[in-house]
Assembly symmetry: C2
Homo-oligomer: 450 residues x 2
């Protein structure tokens, strides 16, 4: 369905003289969320054309939801006078993210044109965008202690901006969060009921500095539709809503996956190609340097390998398997930490489990590969008694790989580094090198110097 | 905080004679969601002790939220008479999932004890658990066409079971979904307002057979707190709520990550160890077989490699880099398809982008690695003119790796297979083999047969 609209839009935009009325009419028939996803298909010029023909409200939504490259293209081209009223319509948290990403020569004139917005987003800009404070919207429904259910209902009716009305927050005289009222309890209560009688006192809240991943985990664990954000003194500042939590969960999962694979670009299919390529160079450089170290280690065994070339032939098998086992352990630790399935104090028991699994797999594949090596040595006439060297090399390679695969992300976590960054190519390189060294050393011991 | 509770629980359970009253008291002080996550730390016997000392409502929540292994242990041990009233308290969609996972000799007596629940979940069992129909709850608030805002408010007050009251669904005389009412519009309307005047006609709904990932994507894209599920005739059957969508998003991301790394177990840190090890064997077998094929290819070049051992030494570098580039492309395609960032008809353009990036990286690292090889050949006295063979081998290896890395998951997607299953070890093995063959062949052409 959105796809047909895309063809329609392309046809209109490809005409010599774009017919504005027809474009406006077509855009009215597309949901802003769909349009936001379709923009990636269009040239920068066409994106601007589309954006300029939108009404203010859908324009605000498209700007908010679209991929970062399209957003950047629109923000850098559209006139400030055109942008200001659109950004004013955005939820303050999203407007703050957008404004904080703009170059200051664009930001200052924009904020001068939108004084009310500037006041509203200034406090939000104080927080790291990846914390509860950076993610929250200051628009929520609240009532003072001592009010009635009817008063709370009036507060909901009067809060035009707040989108999320599932909860009404009860604040004391100092603005501190005292309890919450669910909309369902309000509807079922008589208007004169004091809110103290129906409010929930056991409120889950997030300090403003809490990392966004943790905030998302609170929303996920306790099935909340919004979590209140409070400052050090317990004063309520805003709420983070469940749709923000979904964004956080999606983007953190993507980030971890891309980092495990050794690439950094968020939205890699919407980025310019040279950025995508540049983003992969650091990781591939780690792999290359690791590879050159492998060559160095091999060169220490040059005479041995020349005589027993079959030992060299099995190097890719050993390090391929070790790399695979290592990345399995790393992925389990990285993902477990991200979803909260692994609590930090359980890390050592998880590591221990991985090592036991590594020893088991080492046993199974040591025997399988050692056997296969003994047979291949005969069939392919490799002329070296390979079985025990390859089998033992595989066994020890997999044991070490499961240990390092688990240990490196755990160490990163302890050192407050992102476990996913180090766990990809770095772990693989480390495991390759260790497995290789152990295998060559065992081979030398088993077969003996020529 | 939940951690202190864990120590407290452990202390109570470790006593010779567990003091029931103390255990009940301690359990009352722990949120069921926290207890569900803590269970993984306890022995099967202790899990049962905890479960049996819970009140019915928290017991239902713990059973629903805990990890699959703990759930299985409780379900297989607890008495049917004890379980029945607890399962009756669970939301019907979750009770259905739970019951459908039980062996039939346990299921039948349970359903006989809970006739009302049996009636309610029977229609849910008709659907694949990973579809909209399998995920939905049949409990939602609805009003008939022709009602007033006041009537809709009464319907909300009367719906004790429905947890999600953000929307009231308007049904026509055949039970077909005609529109939705938001709770906010209801609160702001006079009771006598006809619902036709305030309801939204443009409703996003999901057919019962829709895959759960797509349902989650609808909720994410359109920022819904619930999506109505309809049958072929448009009759409304239930709703899938945003907390279900979060579960789906989390578990599908975990599944993709684990599969890319070559391991299948969901909740790998809560599974029994032999299952974790068994789950990795198929993938490692693919890697091993690929490795043995590598040995076979190398053996065809045995004489050449014996003479020019340095060529053999660079094999791990070439295939390591090719494996890395391949998994980058695969990850981008797999994740892009999962998040909806890549729409299916954009796949070929994404593949094309990956190939261009691969060619660029091949150029950069071909030159870097070729140069390094030429230098190392001198420094380590490897005695072979390596530079051009290694450089060209690297270049072509990376080009091919980006092509296969993108192509394999795309092909899987077209063949309606899960792209993540094939994209991990399978792509790496394919890339290793291709890169190796191309490299050895180029080396032979450049250096010549000894």
């Amino acid at each position: 369905m959105p796809e047909e609209r895309r063809d329609e839009l392309e046809a209109i935009l490809s005409e010599e003289q774009v017919r504005s009325l027809q474009l406006i009419e077509t855009l009215r028939g597309i949901r802003p969320e769909d349009l936001a996803r379709l923009l990636v298909y269009f040239d920068p010029d066409d994106k601007i054309q589309i954006f300029e023909h939108l009404e203010k409200e859908p324009a605000a939504e498209v700007l908010n939801e679209t991929d970062p490259t399209s957003r950047e293209e629109i923000l850098s081209t559209a006139k400030t006078e055109k942008l200001a009223p659109i950004i004013e319509l955005m939820p303050p948290d999203e407007a703050a993210d957008l404004v904080s990403g703009m170059p200051s020569e664009r930001r200052s004139p924009l904020l001068r044109l939108t004084p009310a917005l500037a006041d509203e987003i200034r406090p939000l800009l104080l927080y790291d965008p990846e914390t509860a404070g950076g993610r929250m919207t200051p628009e929520f429904v609240s009532v003072a202690h001592g009010e009635t259910a009817g008063g709370a209902m009036l507060a909901i009716q009067g809060s035009i901006d707040a989108e999320w009305v599932n909860y009404v927050y009860v604040l004391d005289e100092h603005g501190r969060l005292a309890g919450t009222l669910s909309i369902r309890d309000l509807i079922s209560s008589k208007p004169e009921t004091p809110i103290e009688a129906i409010m929930t006192l056991d409120v889950i809240s997030a300090p403003a500095e809490m990392d966004q991943e943790e905030v998302a985990r609170l929303i996920d664990t306790y099935h909340l539709s919004a979590v209140p954000v409070v400052d050090d003194g317990g004063k309520m500042l805003g709420i983070v809503t469940v749709d923000d939590a979904i964004d956080v969960i999606q983007s953190e999962a993507s980030e971890d996956m891309y980092q495990l694979a050794g690439t950094t670009a968020p939205h890699p299919t919407a980025q310019r190609l040279h950025r995508v390529a540049l983003g992969r160079i650091p990781y591939l450089t780690v792999t290359l340097l690791g590879g050159l170290l492998i060559v160095f280690v091999e060169s220490r065994f040059k005479g041995f390998l020349e005589t027993y070339i079959a030992i060299a032939m099995f190097i890719p098998v050993i390090i391929g398997m070790a790399g695979n086992v290592g990345i399995q352990s790393s992925t389990i630790v990285v993902r477990g930490l991200a979803t909260g399935e692994i609590q930090p104090e359980r890390l050592l028991s998880v590591l221990w489990r991985e090592v036991i699994v590594g020893i088991t797999l080492g046993g199974v594949f040591g025997i399988a590969c050692g056997g296969a090596a003994a047979i291949l040595a005969n069939v392919l006439e490799l002329g070296t008694p390979l079985g025990s060297a390859v089998g033992l090399g595989m066994f020890s390679g997999l044991c070490v790989a499961s240990l390092f695969g688990g240990l490196v992300p755990i160490a990163c976590h302890r050192l407050k580094m992102d476990p996913a960054i180090a766990a990809g190519p770095f772990v693989t390189t480390l495991n390759d090198l260790t497995a290789l060294s152990v295998y060559l050393w065992i081979s030398l011991v088993v077969i003996g110097n020529p």
